[in-house]
């Protein structure tokens, strides 16, 4: 009996801890927004972070995009050719990438490549008292360290997602047209006819912006909140990757529901 109460108590305290952590993170987001002035007055601070988070993630994002596009085309061909619709491969590849895979997979890659690095860097700056030193110099670390990294991430992820989708479509083109021999004109013209600008492309961009905000917030929050020890920083880095992945997938579902145009019986 006591064991049952204990278990309920543990679940309860875990839930409370989780909710209050979300609360802290939200307050942290407002603190970042309040202290974003210097980031915009001194664009060099943000540009440096766009380089760190975005440019350095280019290779992994482009390579993954290319392969995902190629695999999509191969898998899609099996099904579509059964119905004699292999000309629609362009549509399949582009729709899947632009609406879903681009934002989601680029977001996951971004969280593990750039988000983890952000957390580790800020956590180590805390551990080695660099943030305290800044504070004592009357410089706000949220304005000088956290906000530029946050905005760097928010700017980078949508661009990376667009690149991912572009490379993916190109990969699909290579497999469908060059390897399988689908007609190149049909591949492109069907894609052009079916992918709607607002519904397809813009919704994908909106998703990637939301993911960019979520992943960057999680990354800087975990770093700033890390225990100032070696284990603390490594635990925070892990949490960044895990929480970001869950947040991306959950947010993706929510956003997709809002963007859904079909009818549910």
């Amino acid at each position: 009996m006591i064991a049952v109460f204990d278990a309920i108590g543990r679940v309860g305290s875990a839930v409370i801890a989780g909710v209050s952590r979300i609360g802290y993170a939200t307050r942290f987001l407002f603190a970042i927004l309040r202290h974003s002035g210097p980031s915009f007055m001194r664009p060099r601070l943000v540009i440096r972070e766009v380089y760190q988070a975005g440019v350095l993630s280019l290779i992994i994002v482009c390579m993954s995009g290319l392969f995902v596009g190629m695999v999509l085309a191969l898998q899609g061909y099996e099904t579509l050719s059964r119905y004699g619709a292999s000309e629609s491969m362009g549509v399949l590849v582009a729709m899947a990438l632009v609406r879903e895979l681009g934002p989601v997979v680029a977001g996951l890659l971004f969280a593990s490549r750039a988000g983890s690095a952000m957390t580790a860097e800020i956590g180590l700056m805390k551990t080695t008292e660099q943030l305290a030193a800044m504070e004592v110099m009357a410089v706000d670390p949220i304005a000088r360290v956290v906000a530029p990294r946050f905005w760097g991430g928010v700017i980078s992820l949508p661009l990376l997602a667009v690149l991912f989708s572009t490379l993916g479509v190109f990969g699909g083109f290579l497999v469908a047209v060059k390897l399988i021999g689908v007609d190149s004109g049909a591949f492109w013209s069907q894609m052009q006819a079916s992918v709607d600008w607002r519904y397809g492309v813009m919704n994908g961009v909106i998703k990637s912006v939301v993911f960019g905000i979520a992943v960057s917030l999680i990354a800087v929050f975990e770093g700033y909140d890390a225990d100032p020890t070696a284990e603390g920083v490594s635990a925070a880095t892990t949490r960044t990757v895990v929480t970001s992945a869950l947040a991306i997938l959950a947010l993706d579902f929510v956003l997709t529901v809002f963007m859904f145009r079909g009818e549910i019986n």
């Binding site: 700056m125 080695t128 008292e129 660099q130 305290a132 800044m134 004592v136 110099m137 009357a138 000088r144």
Partner: protein
């Protein structure tokens, strides 16, 4: 000799009676200050000390006795749980945002482990406070930074990253950054740790000269008795969270206080235990 001029001007400005800490205006005062990071364990219990304007005062004590903690209270990173921490007559605990900003602008703190910004070069580390707080043009900042680096003997290392420095070099760069804006109050946390004998005496002399030439007030936290006796005006000894002895250098040298003798002569036996409280050896190894 500039040193004698400084020494003479000191004597003129502060007659010998002024050398006792209460006789002239105090820039820093701790009144019966208690503090603990957790409620269970008190680190400081009733520390009272005073640092007169223009003086270089050492705070000494074994490691873990709360020296760094005193500096953290002074720069407002933590708040005393009781007692008053006064800087320039103003209580640090009651400062609002603006006052804290102004207070920290006038403050230079050398962190125990340097705390150099690892993503910036040596040059940019020293330039950091100037760029954040002044509108000086780049070429003037360039000259100022090289002057500061020259003072610590590292002008040639300006382009290096902190990861390429030895511990002692990093400490000297951090020192240059501490004095970048010519602070009124300089706090040095273990500036001698990890320095070789040559840089040790150079840094010691530098701290003394800066204090006098820039009309600063300095607090030097250290456990290097020999080196600090050469440069400081006054010494406080801290043990187990309270001030156990204090005095100017001659009186400390002549003191018969067992604590002071143990610390100055470096004996492992005395009022301060070398061993952390433990069971007896026989019990532990049984």
């Amino acid at each position: 000799m500039p040193d004698t001029i400084i020494a003479m001007s000191l004597v003129a400005e502060f007659p010998p009676s002024a050398l006792s800490p209460n006789a002239c205006e105090n820039l820093v005062e701790l009144k019966d200050v208690s503090f603990g990071y957790t409620r269970a364990r008190k680190i400081l219990s009733g520390v009272t000390l005073a640092v007169p304007k223009g003086k270089l005062v050492a705070v000494m004590g074994g490691s873990g006795c709360g020296k760094t903690t005193i500096l953290r209270l002074l720069c407002g990173q933590h708040r005393a749980s009781s007692g008053e921490v006064l800087v320039g007559g103003q209580s640090v605990a009651t400062m609002d945002r603006e006052q804290m900003f102004a207070h920290r602008r006038k403050l230079g703190m050398l962190f125990q482990f340097g705390a150099l910004f690892t993503d910036l070069s040596v040059f940019d580390n020293v330039a950091f406070p100037m760029r954040e707080h002044t509108q000086l043009p780049q070429d003037i900042i360039h000259d100022l930074v090289l002057m500061k680096l020259n003072a610590v003997g590292l002008r040639g290392a300006a382009r290096l990253k902190p990861s390429e420095l030895s511990g002692g070099m990093a400490r000297r760069v951090a020192l240059a950054r501490t004095i970048a804006l010519d602070p009124q109050l300089a706090l040095y946390d273990e500036p001698f740790a990890g320095l070789d004998p040559i840089s040790l005496s150079v840094v010691g002399q530098l701290i003394r000269k800066l204090n006098d030439a820039l009309n600063m007030t300095s607090i030097l936290v250290t456990h290097d008795v020999v080196e600090s006796m050469k440069i400081v005006d006054y010494i406080y000894f801290i043990s187990e969270g309270r001030v156990v002895a204090h005095g100017d250098v001659p009186s400390i040298k002549a003191s018969t206080d067992p604590f002071v003798r143990q610390f100055v002569d470096g004996q492992s036996d005395g009022p301060v235990r070398f061993h952390y409280p433990a069971k007896t050896l026989a019990e532990d190894f049984a």
